[in-house]
């Protein structure tokens, strides 16, 4: 299942990336309805690359809200540039998405 949605918008001075990831982001300190601890399950690393070159790398833990939403900004892009977004979580699940700048 695709977990990543990305929209890009080019402006004269910069390009905005709006990124939405479906993920529970459980920090391991919440309890379910029966009072049992919910296992920690959160994205640890998120990487954004442009044409194969890393641009932004984020390390995080369970303190980012459920279904993380990020806006990020690049200096320059050209139409046709390929943005790659990848995440990996503490249970070693991962996903990635390729997006072409319009």
């Amino acid at each position: 299942m695709a977990t990543i949605k990305l929209r890009s918008q080019r402006y004269p001075q910069y390009t905005d990336l709006k990124l939405l990831i479906s993920h529970v982001m459980e920090n391991g300190r919440n309890r379910d309805a029966d009072g049992q601890l919910i296992t920690a399950h959160f994205i640890q690393q998120l990487q954004i690359s442009c044409n194969g070159e890393p641009v932004i790398s984020l390390d995080m833990a369970g303190s980012i809200a459920r279904n993380p939403f990020f806006t990020l900004r690049l200096k320059t892009t050209r139409p046709g540039d390929v943005i790659t977004v990848s995440w990996q979580d503490n249970q070693l699940q991962h996903d990635s998405l390729e997006h072409i700048i319009q």
Binding site: Y14, D16, N27, R29, N30, R31, Q44, Q45, L46, Q47, C50, E53, P54, V55, I56, S57, L58, D59, M60, A61, G62, S63, I64, A65, R66, P68, F69, F70, T71, L72, R73, L74, K75, T76, S86, W87, Q88, Q91, L92, Q93, H94, D95, S96
Partner: protein
């Protein structure tokens, strides 16, 4: 019989060995449950942190729900290569660290979790210099699970 859960775990492990999607190693000690000062020292021991008006940190004065607090960090400074966000009273105080390459500008929005009312710190590194700003947020509904 292989349960669905075990199968998925096995599948995840297998694909992990085949292709790691990120290059760097996640810095486990920095995201440990520890008090703010300890984590702060681990990150910035020996560095001089200077207050800066050039970093804009926007957070609500009163956050209704600590499970999702909108945050905007931006700066016009050039050559920023590191960003750290810490929530002073969260069980794991470091919530985010970022490495920015030259094609990235410092402009980040996110939604963060806050366990209780406290200071949020943003520290950046620019040309080897560390700059900081902070803001107090009142959290209406926190609790042990939110941070």
């Amino acid at each position: 019989m292989l349960s669905r859960r075990r199968f998925l775990k096995w599948l995840a492990a297998l694909s992990f060995f085949r292709s790691r999607v990120v290059d760097a190693v996640w810095p486990r000690p920095l995201f440990a449950s520890d008090d703010f000062q300890t984590i702060f020292q681990q990150l910035f021991a020996g560095q001089t942190l200077t207050d800066s008006d050039s970093i804009s940190l926007q957070l609500p004065e009163n956050a209704e729900d600590g499970a999702s607090v909108p945050m905007l960090i931006s700066s016009e400074l050039d050559n920023i290569d590191r960003l750290y966000v810490l929530v002073e009273k969260n069980p794991t105080p470091l919530i985010l660290q970022a490495e920015l390459q030259t094609n990235a500008l410092l402009y980040l929005t996110s939604r963060i979790k806050m366990a209780e009312s406290c200071q949020v710190w943003v520290i950046i590194r620019q040309d080897g210099q560390y700059w900081q700003t902070r803001q107090w947020v009142n959290v209406m509904k926190g609790g042990c699970g939110t941070g």
